[in-house]
Structures are given as structure tokens and as C-alpha cells.
């Protein structure tokens, strides 16, 4: 497996021992950010958009799980069942144990979302997750409060917590964007580029971010072209392809992750120069490419904010001979 982690934090590197052939690994996305950044609102938003995807949400915030009442179908032994097949539970100080417990849940979840505590370092959480068999870390999303993050980052007590969280990020959600001016937003974007050099930035209000952008798309394209139909808030575009030619797969993944193309996440299978099928995944500036043993049909989905996703450039990159 080739991978790239342009970060000083060893914790967020994604090297793993080779998975056994054919073994499906369960993706886990970690959502971090300081108190008040809007993590819980985002989680509720994801649950509303889940649309058939079975999300297992693991929450480590103090106290009761703040899932919107209308989403809850049942609650038993600390496990909340949510409309559409999703579940939610709190993991206290035992995340690994909670994930082990999920193995007995039927039907099995498609994707685990971990909402960390406000002071957790998400890179450390991912490092711990990488120790679990059958788990694939799939993105570190860090939320910030657009109005307060700059002040927080300078605070004597929590400043280093904020900057360490951001340095781990692969996607930064700039929440509460509606509370600041356009010029403040421009300046904030520059600050965050320094603090979160590996991350794609997404602006949001009230935690409304596309599920696909946060968790990655389910790559099932039948034809090329852009599509924003799956994104309820239509702040995001996605572009899906069935690439016909062979690629230097790592180089393609790296290009998709540079940020210049406006891609927040990309995922799919392409034929490599060597004839093997490669799995490509990018989250923010991090990319990963590995040959797979099975032979899925080539397909690739890229997601980015509407107006920033350079669909024609991506198309040129993928479709050109």
C-alpha cells in the first residue's frame, strides 16, 4: 500500500498491516472539535441525511446523547435506535470496547462515526482505532466555530488543544459561517490553511454539511457527469466517472488531493499501469492507493463544495488519454 501523510503527527499516519484478501473493513470517520463548535448538530444532520446508510454513531461527550428526539425510535441499554437503521451510543472512556461491542449489532453498520470529546486530539483517537482489526480509519473531520476559533487558538488554556486538533484535520468544517463577514471568512481561511495544512476546508452553517463530503461517497456511478441530487443542502457537487484507461494510480490520487481541484473526498477503483485494480481514497490532502485482490469495475467519485469543485479539470484528468 502506498500512502501519504503530509503531517508531523505520527498518530494520523494511516499505514496499516495488509488486510486479508477479501476482508471488508469497516470505515470509521472521526469528528473532532472544541466544545461548542457544533459536532452534535453535525451528527444530527448526518443522521437526517443517512438515506439508507446504516451509521453507527459513537459519542464521547459528557452526559446524555443529544440526538434530536424526532430521530429516536427506541432506546435500550444505552443504545439508541434511529430511524433508517442507524444507531447511536456513548463510549465513555472505552472507545475500543464500544467498537468491539458493535460487532454483535445486526445488521452490521456501514460506517462508524466517532464524535470525540471537545478536548480530545482526533489524531490520537485515529491511532487507537488503527489498532483494531477490521477497522479502516476514514477521515478526520474537525469542526471550528467561525466566530470564536481564532480567539480560542490564542487562549492560554485551550489554544494548544485547538491547534493540535486542527493539525490532525483532513477536513475542517468552518461552522457558523453565517456569523462572520466575507472578509473575515477570507482571513479565517488563510489562518486555517496554516493551522490545518492537510485539510480541505468546508464552510457550513448550523452543521449542514453533505453526508458524502464528511463520510465519503458510496461509489456506485453508472455514467460520467456531475450530480448534486444526493446532497440535500446542494452546497456540494459530486462528479462520478467510469474511467476506461489505466493510470499511475498513486499519482492520480495525489493529484486529486492537492486541493487545487476543490476535492474534499474522492473514492473509487481504477485500473493501474500494472493492470491491477487499485483502490483510491482521498480525504483532504491525504491520499491512499492500494491494489485490491478482487476485481471491481472501475469507478470514481469526487466530492467538493459547489463552485469550488473543478469538474471539468477533474474530467480532463480522468478521461484524457
Amino acid at each position: 500500500m502506498l500512502n501519504h501523510a503530509d503531517t508531523t503527527s505520527a498518530a494520523s499516519a494511516s499505514a496499516q498491516a495488509p488486510e486479508k484478501p477479501g476482508k471488508a473493513s469497516l470505515p470509521v470517520t472521526v469528528i473532532g472539535g472544541y466544545l461548542g463548535a457544533g459536532k452534535t448538530t453535525l451528527v444530527n444532520h448526518l443522521l437526517r441525511q443517512a438515506n439508507g446508510r446504516r451509521l453507527a454513531i459513537l459519542v464521547n461527550e459528557f452526559g446524555s446523547i443529544a440526538i434530536d428526539e424526532d430521530l429516536i425510535e427506541a432506546e435500550e441499554d444505552g443504545l439508541i435506535s434511529i430511524a433508517g437503521g442507524c444507531i447511536c451510543c456513548s463510549f465513555g472512556n472505552d472507545l475500543i470496547g464500544a467498537i468491539e461491542d458493535l460487532r454483535s449489532v445486526e445488521p452490521a453498520p456501514d460506517h462508524i462515526v466517532v464524535e470525540t470529546s471537545g478536548v480530545a486530539l482526533p489524531g490520537s483517537v485515529v491511532a487507537s482505532l488503527s489498532l483494531i482489526e477490521g477497522i479502516r480509519p476514514d477521515g478526520i473531520v474537525v469542526l471550528v466555530d467561525a466566530e470564536t476559533v481564532v480567539k480560542q487558538a490564542r487562549d492560554d488554556y485551550i489554544g494548544d488543544t485547538i491547534t493540535r486538533q486542527l493539525s490532525d484535520a483532513e477536513i475542517v468544517v468552518i461552522n457558523k459561517r453565517d456569523l462572520i463577514s466575507d472578509s473575515a471568512a477570507q482571513s479565517l481561511a488563510l489562518t486555517l490553511s496554516d493551522l490545518a495544512p492537510n485539510a480541505a476546508q468546508i464552510e457550513a452553517a448550523f452543521g449542514t454539511v453533505s453526508l458524502d463530503a464528511v463520510l465519503g461517497a458510496v461509489a456506485q456511478p453508472s455514467s460520467g457527469g456531475t450530480d448534486s441530487g444526493g446532497h440535500s443542502d446542494s452546497l456540494f457537487d459530486s462528479i462520478a466517472f467510469t474511467p476506461q484507461r489505466r493510470f499511475n494510480a498513486p499519482a492520480l490520487a495525489e493529484q486529486l488531493a492537492t486541493g487545487a481541484l476543490g476535492v474534499v473526498r474522492a473514492k473509487g477503483y481504477v485500473a493501474g499501469d500494472d493492470g491491477a485494480i487499485w483502490l483510491l481514497q482521498t480525504v483532504g490532502r491525504r491520499w491512499q492507493a492500494e491494489p485490491v485482490d478482487h476485481q471491481p469495475h472501475p469507478q470514481l467519485v469526487c466530492i467538493g463544495p459547489k463552485g469550488q469543485l473543478r469538474t471539468s479539470d477533474i474530467e480532463a484528468l480522468v478521461q484524457a488519454d
Binding site: A10, A11, A13, S14, A15, Q16, A17, P18, Y34, L35, G36, F62, G63, S64, S90, G92, N93, D94, I96, G97, G118, V119, L121, S124, V125, A127, S128, S130, L131, I132, E133, D156, Y157, I158, D160, T161
Partner: protein, 547 residues
């Protein structure tokens, strides 16, 4: 008329300034009817004179203000610490002074097991004293290659595992990438696991499962035995989850006729909102009995100094390690303090680094202004690196402190050399500054982090000797009298129990530590060596030799 027993003793140290030393104490209904001369006590009417303590020294039953009852549970595992340590049955295990000695002790435990799959669990390993030579999985493979072997370090922050345990946890493979899991030249984990994140996947296979910090029935019974041997009649259990099940167990065990200990468990502020936590302990408080005192909260602000997870002010760690972690952020601490003060619930707050202490003070001051509570006795626990200005502020705010006064002995050399450097190492656990700042003072062992033993902690506060024999912080030494007060009345005060416990005077519980010698008369360096005969708890007599 109920029976009165008058005990005569060689000396009775009362902690009552009106009569600091007496010869007799009268006990009726488990309480102290009076202390004084026999002539003074005879005025209460008929009595039986009991001379069994005629050659002993009595002092108020010692109060351990910061310990964890899991010490009782740990003794079921194999002790491999550097220092000699007494188990609940009174057997002193000699310190294991080399890796070979550690392996030998684990191997003899292994030989005694019949079930081939049963794990071997060791505890209290401390390579610092063995030239910091690291223990590897290959070392532990010498104990067994077929059953899992795990050894917890004294700090509780590191676990060593053998190859079998790593294999069972799925970690015996190349490519493991975790900051808490060092790899050997062969690309495989060395077997050292740093921090809870790295320890957890393996811990369950080596006998250290998720609920390790929750004491069970046998553990609590064993813990109480350790208390009798240390002269302790009341102990906190400072970070309990206090589930319905564990509260029922504690109510059951402490109500048994011969249970020799008053337990004060604090509900840890974790996994609940501040509102829920305050409401929870208010409900628990109603279940309190004489020997189980519920209704207090323990909050944790930061981690530990030797684990580099404590929050430090500038200039940070001496070795350049990055600052530690907040376990509870300022906003949540503030909310907890406000709600608890409003509800009249006491909070004890763990801070190790000086920034964590400052944070606690910074959020406490506005909270106490908003919720005036003249007798709150909020207590900072450990508070190891606080400076004079912080103690002055605590004094003005009416806060108490419980300092980790024996840390100098166990880790003082490390603090001096590595973690905080010479100047702050000398300042650590500034008992004298605390008293000078009018901060009510207790001192503690944090058992099982260090052995339960208030006399040892008192000795450490008086002498400030490190394991290598250096004196660290001459200016922070306190007197023997001050140290003995801290382990009795001082600790009682931090728990609002000073009206019932902590001194030998009329009306208080008949709780005594029975000593073979007089800690105020021996050389200050010998205070730790005074043998403890046992205790009297609520008028009931518990000789250590008959446990």
C-alpha cells in the same frame, strides 16, 4: 445505662489543642465519651478498665484523603515493584530489584496455575529504578510463551505484554503505527504499551479489563485489611463510578459487623453532564451510612506529571515534552463548580500541573462569587506544582488542598532530572507554603500508585527525602506534629468530617490508630518505621495480627 470502657495507654495523642496528650480514653456506644486522666473519666460512672493498650500509643484513626480501593483488588495479581510492600494478609513482598527477579516472581506464580489459559498479571513494575532498562515481550516470554502475561507499571500508565498477549490482541504484526507502541528492530511491538489507548486492546487479555478501577467485594474487604495494617480507619475512594451495583456492594460490605473501615467514595465527573452528576450525588447522599459516606464529586482537570499529561504553565516540561491534556476543559469545570456550589455539593479536583491548578482557581473564583458558599471546602487534590501565589489565592478563596507529599520519595529524582527540573522539583507538594497561606492541608498516598501508609506520607512531608537519598525542597518541610495533624484532622476537614473524626475528644467516633511507638518522640527519620498494632474503629478492636 450502656457499658463504658476506659482504655489506658502509654500515651494518647489527641489532636485536641486543649489537651494534646492524655493517658486514658473512655468509649461508649462506639463513641468517645471522654479523654483525659482516669480520675477525670471516672466521673461518668461505672466502667470497665481495659489495659490491653497499656504499652501502646494511641492517636486518632488515620484518614487517607486520596486513595483508591482498587489497591485491594490488585493484590490478587503478582507484585513486582521495586520497594518492599505489604499485602492485605500482612506478608511483606520484597522489592524485585532486577528484570530477572521480576521474571522469577512471575514464573513462580505461573508454576502455581493449573488452567493453561489463565493469564499472569503483574503490577507495580518501575524500570526507572533499574537504570531505566526496558522490559520487552521477550523477557516476559520467559515466563510463558503459551499463556498471556501482562505487567502494569507503578504509574499505571504503561503496560508490558508478552508475545502471546500481543498476538491475542492482534498486535503481533509488522506495520503497527501508534505513538504509544514502540517497535523493535524486527518491526514488531517491543511489548511496552504507553497510555490507555495503547494498553486497552491488550489489557483485557492479561487480567486488566475495562472495569479494573471498580473495586469488587473481595477487593474492598482486602483494602480494609490494608487500612487496619496502616492505622487507617477512614479512607476515600477517590474516583469511583458508583454504579447501582457497586453502591449496593459497598453498602452490603460496610454494614457487616466486623468491617473495619469508613469509606468515602467520590463519584468521578465523567460520562455525565454537570447537572446529571450533581443530581446523581445528591441522590446517593441519601443512601449514606456511618461507614459509607456518599454525596461528593471528584473532577479531573489534567493527567500526571511523570506521564507528561499534566497541564503545565510556561516553561513547560523540562525535557521539552509537549504540554499535557485537559481531561475536563475550563467551560465544563466552570459549569460543574457553579452547579455544585448552588446545590451544596462538594467537589474535589485533581490537578497535577500548575496550569491545571490555575484553571481550577480561575473558574472557581467567579463561581463562588455567583454562589456564595462560606463553608464549601472545595479541595484541590495532588496540586503538586502549585506556587506561593496559587496557595495564597486558595487560602483567600477558602479552598483546601490535599498534597501528594510522598511523591518526592518515589519520583522526586525523576522530577528533578527529567520532568520539571530542579527548581520546580524542590517546590513540588509545598506543604509548608500551604500552611503559611492558611490552606487547610491533607497529604495522601494515592494508593495503589504508592502504598497506602499515612505514616510514610507524613515521614515524606517531614523529611522530603528522594529514593536516592537527596533532600528535595528543604524550605517546604513541615514538622512531625503538622504532618500528623494533616493525616487526621487535616484530612477530616477536607471531607467536612472534622466534627466527627480526626481527634480524640468527647463526642467523636472511637476511631484510633494503635501504634507500638510514639511518632512524636522518635527521630523524624524513623516515623515511617513505627509498627502499627492495628486500629479501633467505632469502638471495635482490630488487631492487625488477627485479620
Amino acid at each position: 445505662m450502656t457499658a463504658t470502657t476506659i482504655y489506658t495507654a502509654r500515651k494518647i495523642i489527641t489532636m485536641n489543642p486543649n489537651q494534646p496528650v492524655v493517658t486514658h480514653v473512655a468509649v461508649r456506644e462506639g463513641r468517645i465519651l471522654g479523654a483525659g486522666s482516669l480520675a477525670e473519666l471516672e466521673s461518668w460512672g461505672d466502667y470497665e478498665l481495659d489495659t490491653r493498650f497499656a504499652d501502646k500509643v494511641l492517636m486518632p484513626g488515620m484518614i487517607e484523603g486520596h486513595a483508591h480501593t482498587m489497591e485491594g483488588t490488585l493484590w490478587r495479581n503478582v507484585y513486582v515493584g521495586w520497594f518492599d510492600r505489604m499485602d492485605p494478609d500482612g506478608k511483606t513482598w520484597s522489592g524485585a530489584k532486577s528484570i530477572d527477579a521480576v521474571i522469577e516472581r512471575l514464573s513462580s506464580a505461573e508454576a502455581a496455575l493449573s488452567d493453561p489459559d489463565e493469564p499472569i498479571s503483574g503490577w507495580s513494575l518501575d524500570p526507572i529504578y533499574m537504570d531505566n532498562k526496558r522490559v520487552t515481550r521477550q523477557d516476559l516470554d520467559r515466563v510463558s510463551s503459551t499463556r498471556p502475561v501482562g505487567v502494569l507499571h507503578a504509574s499505571g500508565h504503561i503496560l508490558n505484554a508478552n508475545s502471546k498477549a500481543l498476538e491475542m490482541a492482534g498486535l503481533l504484526k509488522p506495520g503497527v503505527n501508534h505513538p504509544g507502541i514502540p517497535l523493535g528492530a524486527d518491526g514488531l511491538p517491543t511489548g511496552e504499551l504507553y497510555g490507555p489507548d495503547a494498553m486497552t486492546p491488550v489489557a483485557g487479555f492479561v487480567g486488566y479489563d475495562r472495569a479494573m478501577t471498580d473495586c469488587d467485594e473481595r477487593g474492598l474487604l482486602d483494602y480494609a485489611k490494608l487500612c487496619v495494617r496502616a492505622g487507617v480507619t477512614t479512607s476515600t475512594d477517590l474516583a469511583a463510578r458508583l454504579t447501582d451495583e457497586s453502591v449496593s456492594m459497598m453498602l452490603d460490605v460496610t454494614s457487616r459487623g466486623r468491617f473495619p473501615l469508613r469509606v468515602v467514595p467520590l463519584r468521578v465527573f465523567f460520562g455525565m453532564t454537570p447537572e446529571e452528576c450533581v443530581a446523581y450525588v445528591l441522590e446517593l447522599k441519601e443512601k449514606s451510612t456511618d461507614l459509607l459516606r456518599l454525596g461528593r464529586i471528584k473532577a479531573v482537570a489534567d493527567g500526571s506529571i511523570q506521564g507528561f499529561s499534566a497541564r503545565m504553565r510556561w516553561p513547560g516540561y523540562h525535557n521539552g515534552a509537549p504540554n499535557g491534556l485537559w481531561y475536563t476543559p475550563p467551560e465544563q469545570m466552570s459549569e460543574l463548580y457553579n452547579l455544585a456550589l448552588a446545590a451544596g455539593v462538594q467537589v474535589h479536583t485533581h490537578t497535577n500541573g500548575d496550569q491545571a491548578t490555575q484553571m481550577a482557581l480561575d473558574v472557581f473564583e467567579p463561581a463562588i462569587r455567583a454562589n456564595p458558599s462560606p463553608d464549601h471546602r472545595f479541595t484541590i487534590q495532588h496540586c503538586q506544582l502549585a506556587d506561593a501565589a496559587q496557595f495564597a489565592k486558595m487560602g483567600k478563596l477558602g479552598m483546601c488542598v490535599n498534597l501528594f507529599a510522598n511523591h518526592h520519595f518515589y519520583w522526586g529524582d525523576e522530577h528533578y532530572r527529567l520532568t520539571v527540573g530542579p527548581e520546580r522539583a524542590m517546590r513540588m507538594n509545598a506543604t509548608r507554603t500551604a500552611l503559611a497561606s492558611n490552606v487547610p492541608l491533607a497529604i495522601h498516598s494515592d494508593a495503589p500508585v504508592t502504598p497506602l501508609g499515612p505514616l510514610f506520607t507524613a515521614w515524606a512531608a517531614v523529611n522530603r527525602i528522594t529514593a536516592s537519598g537527596r533532600t528535595q525542597g528543604e524550605g517546604e518541610k513541615i514538622s512531625v506534629d503538622q504532618a500528623l495533624y494533616a493525616i487526621t484532622m487535616g484530612a477530616a476537614y477536607t471531607l467536612h468530617l472534622d466534627g466527627e473524626l480526626g481527634s480524640i475528644e468527647v463526642g467523636k467516633r472511637a476511631d484510633f490508630a494503635v501504634l507500638e511507638d510514639d511518632p512524636t518522640a522518635v527521630d523524624a527519620m524513623a516515623v515511617k518505621d513505627i509498627p502499627v498494632w492495628g486500629t479501633v474503629q467505632g469502638g471495635r478492636i482490630f488487631p492487625a495480627s488477627e485479620l
